[in-house]
Subunit: 416 residues, 2 copies
């Protein structure tokens, strides 16, 4: 085991030099070759993946996340091809002006530099991050989980073979050793690393935020609300709420709390209950909603406690609260939202605009499922996560945000 | 003395509501009224300023920074008027598209929310920050130094009278109590404060970075180099270097190290020495430069040590190193730069472009003084500082960056 990752960090700094002259066409060709190699090298990759899977307990829920097969490799390859087709986010002219003194000022986008990513057992992160970093001209340092060590090493071998064949320094994509102590080294390497992105459980994200000296971009929890206004099309509202909760409960853009206007709560819950009943959703209801659902003999019904609001369930569970109109809904959201995705279902224009304007969140919706908060759905391509912070990137954190700005000033002797 | 600033933080959250409907015209009128009031209320402000000045030791170097007089109030007023004339950075449409499923997606700019600023004795920060936050629709929480307490209170009184007269909640601009313990409260108030900006000494900035739980935007040190290429117009190079060092040595965009190609070092130093001699600049020279300057009988000459490179002097001091061409200059800059402002003086196009491309800094210059790195000079208006970080804002951190993004999604029942 290596004593330190310092040689890898130095190699990353050297590799940055190459990326300065990595032209858009060459990036695209490289990604297309990687996409092809992922399919061609299926045997090598699945062999390594099997070693990792065999080391894991059969009952471990991480096993499915770690698993690769032909279909999943095809999907990974397709994702790389999609990234190759996205516009190069670097060297974009953001501003250009000539000052009265003759100075020519430009602001352009440039790569961030060296991007460190710390993640857990999903091998798709290895590929997505490598592809996003190549397309945005960044060096990436990948620190995956030990569960996926053999799989990640095989994926890196595939990527490195492509880079070597093209005469590109393989150090632009590096896998870091899995030993715990190297994580701290990475988090403190301000001289070598420009940004760190944690991907995975809340405890991983918290650990990184607490310990990093390098700047961090956080992708946070989603406590998502849908407010059903008294003017809502209640059939539509029930479909939207059901989709937001049921289609994929384990992800951050899934619904956690339904707020419904008291005036329409009885009729709305009659329409919603069958969807939730069919999917075995457990409901934590406030007293009014409880009474209404109990009357319908709804199965998985619990009286909500304070802690059931502002709770990210990540499961087939959901809290329901009845409110007196928009103001109470806005107050509830202001108090409990994690500022990820929030929705109103309404047919009244002014109410909709007030909601969209007043709610402070990365994404605000009218009459659609919050499940759409996603880089792919928004047309940005693969994403590194959904940012709930306000600086640099908010919402889907995708290719376009893997850059920083640079001011370029050209003169002919100007002094101040 | 108040026990806690929690009531002020809650008031800030309430005041945010008002700012949602604060129209561009109303912002402009408010700032113009504040600009007028700063001049009209000269007596009140200077009286309070005198109380602060009288509390300070005569020899204290902070005294000049704290001092207000008619001229300085006029300048402050003019600065507020300038900010009123800048384009409102909020509600800008960054992206709009309609997805195949009919969803209408917009990305717009919105205020950050509540901005906390921790600063030292300059009362102009109070006015600049308040004006920038009003124009960008942010609530600001000002925590100035205790030295300037009476002055800041008087400035706030002037601002609040204007706000009251216009029926605007005064809580959109708040002064926090000066007691130390409230700084920690502010730094940890993630529920109420969206961003904290420290302005002042390196130790203040370090303290904020180490202790803040709220996201911080840092304005950092400037270790600025100017490289004199062998093709440079040496007369121009001497003027640029002299200006970058001498015009205002105490600021972050002033020059710290001259790198000069060995081929032209003798001739260049002959041209530079008189400027530095006249201004009594102390030079820390590498062996070759030392020999050349000693030969010219340069007065303030010291043999450079390793620590004199990568050092931010903030004074009439400067290090000089002779190099073998562009590559050695780039290596030196990569090693010692704080990524603020870096310059090349050259008449060779390819050399210039290689330098501008290769150097990783917020601002890179060809043939002009690094002293231009400034929000006002770049046409952005008053700035909060120069950011040397890569996330969110890089270079002058001005009005345009006091915003975040918001995704707005309008549908008619779309589910995923």
């Amino acid at each position: 085991m290596s004593e330190s990752i310092i040689e890898q960090l130095k190699a990353a700094a050297r590799a940055k030099q190459f990326l300065q002259q990595f032209a858009p066409d060459a990036k695209k060709a490289t990604l297309e070759a990687i996409a092809a190699a992922l399919v061609e090298e299926e045997a090598l990759i699945l062999h390594a993946n099997k070693i990792d899977l065999d080391r894991m307990d059969d009952g471990d829920p991480k096993k499915d996340r770690l698993l690769l097969n032909s279909d999943r490799l095809q999907a990974l390859s397709a994702s790389v091809k999609q990234i190759a087709d996205l516009a190069d986010p670097t060297d974009q002219l953001l501003l250009k002006k000539i000052l009265p003194n003759g100075l020519e000022i430009e602001k352009i986008t440039v790569p961030l530099g060296v991007v460190g990513v710390i993640y857990e057992s999903r091998p798709n992160v290895t590929i997505d991050v490598a592809a996003l970093c190549i397309q945005s001209g960044n060096v990436c340092l990948l620190r995956g989980g030990s569960d996926a060590q053999y799989t990640n090493e095989a994926l890196l071998r595939v990527i490195h073979r492509v880079l070597e064949a093209k005469g590109i320094p393989t150090d632009i994509v590096q896998l870091l050793p899995v030993a715990r102590k190297h994580v701290s080294e990475l988090l403190e390497a301000t001289k070598y690393v420009d940004i760190i992105i944690p991907r995975g459980s809340q405890s991983l994200i918290d650990f990184v935020r607490e310990n990093a000296k390098v700047p961090v971009i956080e992708t946070g929890a989603g406590v998502c609300h849908t407010y059903v206004d008294k003017t809502a099309d209640l059939e539509m509202a029930a479909k939207i709420v059901a989709n937001a909760k049921i289609s994929r409960p384990s992800v951050c853009n899934s619904l956690d709390t339904v707020l419904v206007d008291k005036e329409v709560a009885p009729e709305f819950l009659v329409k919603l209950a069958p969807y939730f009943e069919n999917a075995s959703v457990e409901v934590f209801a406030d007293p009014i909603a409880y009474k209404l659902l109990a009357h319908q003999k709804f199965s998985n019904l619990v009286a909500a406690e304070e802690a059931d609001f502002g709770r990210e369930f990540l499961d087939l569970k959901c809290s329901i609260k009845t409110v007196n109109g928009l103001d109470e809904a806005l107050e509830h959201i202001e108090k409990y939202s994690s500022k990820h995705s929030e929705c109103i279902v309404s047919s009244h224009e002014l109410t909709i605009e007030r909601f969209l304007n007043a709610v402070d969140a990365a994404a605000v919706y009218a009459n659609a499922s919050t499940r759409f908060t996603d880089g792919g759905e928004f047309g940005l391509g693969a994403e590194i996560g959904i940012s709930t912070q306000k600086l640099h990137a908010r919402g889907p954190f995708a290719l376009e945000k893997l850059v920083t700005e640079k001011w370029i000033v050209r003169g002919n002797g100007q002094i101040r």
